[in-house]
Amino acid sequence: MASTIVAFELGGREVEVMVKPMTTLQSALRDQLGFTATKEGCRQGGCGSCTVLVNDEPMLSCLLPVEDVAGQRVTTLESLTPTQGLHPLQQAFLDANAFQCGYCTPGMTMLAQALLDHNPAPDRGDITQALTGNICRCTGYGPIVRAIEVAAQAMHAGEEGQPR
């Protein structure tokens, strides 16, 4: 049961982990690299709290052997956070109180980022459709959907160079 070294890109930098066979990406991130923003809610693919982006597509890190992302580009909430201040999604989640316990927030944010990458101006239906795999037990989702709408507008305005 020899360990192997797996290299991948994490938030713009090359990382290597030495893993037992079939260690999940979730475990490699949290237990080996200390990137604990990616949460562990079920390890069944049922809650979305471990959502990360692999080559900009949302995936569940609890279902992904880290060997499968060798050479791929992985993005977690840590790398979404800018050096100064907050990403528009983070700011919108904060302003809208789009969390209570906060445990779903990293997964929600990564999913929302993927949505806005695909669709910069999603309507409410697009947002709720995108979020169906991410469970929040506290908020009832309303403030999360509103935060994503606000962030979409802010990012759109930012791109067009309009005052925010």
Binding site: K20, A37, E78, F93, N97, Q100, C101, R137
Partner: protein, 450 residues
Amino acid sequence: MSPDLNVVGNSVGRSDGIGHVTGRTRYTADRSFPGMLHLKMVRSPLHHARIRGIDLSAAERVPGFVRALTARDVPHNCYTILGLIGVEPEEEFVLAEDRVRFKGEAIVAIVAETEAAALEAVSKVQLDLEELPAVFDVEEALEPGAPIVTHWGNNTFMFEGHPCRRVRLGDVEQAFQQADYIVEGVYNTSPIEHAPLETTGCIAVPEANGRYTVYTNTQALYFSLDNTAIILQVPGSQLHFVGGTVGGGFGGKVDVIVEPIATLAAMKTNRPVRYTYSRAEEMQVSSTRSAWRIYVKDGVTRDGHIIARKVTSYADSGAYSRQTPYALTKHAANAAGPYAIPNVAIDAYCVYTNRQPTSAMRGFGVTMASFALEVQMDKIAEKVGADPWTIRFINAYHDGDMKPHRKLVEDATLIETMQAAATRVGHELPDVFRSMTSAPRDAGHDGGRS
């Protein structure tokens, strides 16, 4: 509004908000310690069984196995959840001794170098179980000859020597004779799992000074500490509990179940030990809100006044009572509803079955009574041919009314709440209800509340 108010009337940012949106909030499972071991539980595959033997030999051979803990290793092998607030008897074991009473009950704790090794060792523990008849229905559990779940010979929690919590006001049987209508209903609710997104868990860490630091997502930090100290028979000063960051609780994380065994494992191995529920454990082993069956019989006059209410409730406590007797007492105090009823009889039973134990969940005991009684109120309205608003306004209690458990009503707001609700949904109330208040009945029309 006073001009020196800083918070009231303002939106105040959450102190933990930045941590939550950047993912830097540290939840229990986000912590890691050098040499940390992982604890996984061998659980009963049967609903009810006698334990004839436990064979650990194959588990011990799994690479990474460190040690196993059984009932013999636990200094005081009883949960003290209710004992801490003076409710007896102790009836739940930390690790099962001779019998398991629900599917999923903890029998052997396995401590291993990795979670994978712990899971593999768990799968290799051989249990020799003799299956016993099980009971899953509250009323069947009270029938003669039912399988007995408890160790004291019947399937009810005993309230001061009685098999149920009893409340009596007036004489319901006589009032039923005088009533124009008898309206009866039976109401069932399902168990509900809190399903917090973060599962229950803790990490116990031995410190150089001989103390143990326990990082936990309990909702009841000092409850957890006291419970652990008693079970492990150590002074509370030897334990340092660190909590406060909880990834969803809703009442489900007041079970204080994981800390004692994790701390014991840390003591036995002198290494940090992590014990976190899997999602399946959270769903199948952690307490749920109880399932209830509630019988309501009301005596009602032709004009819709309820003159007698008899409620017989059964809370399915599951195999152990945890905080359900407490919930049941709250239930009994509220089982007549927010209504002024002169004759009331309430019998509320906390029944043991071979189901998953039950405990606290938001408004426990009262929420199910409200469900039953409000459906019942609609049935009464239908029976007497009045609209549901009228039935509630004319029966609503007022300040100063006597509740069935001999407490005077204070700060009643049912009438005002219904008035506000009517406004919100655009329902036009008749003047008589629009001008009603919850003020004491003898205090005149507006009761001096204005």
